[in-house]
Amino acid sequence: MKIEDFKNKNTLNIPEDYFETLHSKIVSKSCNSKTTATPKRKRVLGWKSIGYAASIAIVVFIGGFIYNSNSGNSHEIVANEEFYDKDYIENMLNNYPIDDYTFYCYLTNTNMN
């Protein structure tokens, strides 16, 4: 047998009117469905956007925490500065009779007893 012997033999059949129905089946299946580009346009937030938002939220949270920690220290510094305020000390020296030892204890915050 040579392969040319089979060349013009149509041995594979199709049902009657198959191609007429195939066209309408394909068109109704495809043209009624959306193309891939359409849903992409409708997407408002993607996973990347959510990731960026989460990263920003973490940075803001950590930044706020550090800021608050620093703010707490600054209050202590202010309090100490008030404690060693020059005007306050001069006022004490001029108006209240205190000896050198009492003044030393006051400045060093030590117990006089």
């Binding site: 047998m1 040579k2 392969i3 012997d5 089979f6 060349k7 033999k9 041995t11 594979l12 059949n13 199709i14 049902p15 198959y18 191609f19 195939l22 066209h23 089946k25 394909i26 068109v27 299946k29 495809s30 043209c31 469905s33 959306k34 193309t35 891939t36 580009a37």
Partner: protein, 184 residues
């Protein structure tokens, strides 16, 4: 039947226009559905399988219509989708390559019992010989022998050199003739 006044350039432009796209695609289906169906049918043999795959091919083409830039012919693009769909189908159904263990004549016997096959024993054996070819060789053989495509067209679709296609076709012919000569 295919449209006699089919204009490839015009249809390609209309496919890019959202308002004209559906009508243009309907013309494309009318123009190419038969060719694509027969291409698939020669690969899978079963009408029911070919029917499913040809529909999936056009549905996928429509879903990805935005990616078609018109760099290639519409037919080339459709053939590529059809080939991918067919090879995926064969792979999933594990009938892509006929194993050595499959007894000779088994495929022919199965084909003879198919209501959509009207050939004799020799025709069935010829189809079996083709089914025993590796997928790529089978594609090349079918496109050249049944669809009478030029090597240049096949080269464009399969992205393979003309020389390699000629070699592949001649090897396929030799294998089929060897298989058939053992059945004489």
């Amino acid at each position: 039947m295919a449209e006699s006044n089919y204009n490839e350039k015009m249809i390609t432009m209309q496919l890019k226009d959202e308002n004209l796209r559906s009508a243009a695609f309907s013309i494309v289906v009318k123009q190419y559905s038969q060719k694509i169906y027969w291409h698939i049918r020669h690969m899978v043999l079963s009408h029911e399988d070919a029917d499913d795959i040809v529909q999936d091919t056009f549905v996928k083409a429509w879903a990805n219509i935005d990616k078609f830039r018109g760099d290639s012919l519409i037919s080339t693009w459709l053939y590529r989708i059809a080939i991918n769909e067919t090879l995926n189908f064969l792979s999933k159904n594990r009938i892509s390559t006929v194993s050595i263990e499959t007894s000779e004549g088994a495929i022919a016997k199965q084909l003879e019992s198919d209501v959509h096959f009207n050939g004799d024993r020799a025709d069935a054996l010829f189809r079996e010989a083709i089914q025993r070819l590796p997928e790529k060789q089978r594609l090349v053989f079918n496109m050249k022998y049944f669809e009478e495509m030029k090597y240049e067209e096949i080269s464009e679709i399969l992205d393979t050199s003309v020389g390699a296609l000629k070699a592949s076709y001649h090897i396929a012919v030799k294998k089929i003739e060897d298989f058939l000569s053992n059945k004489d």
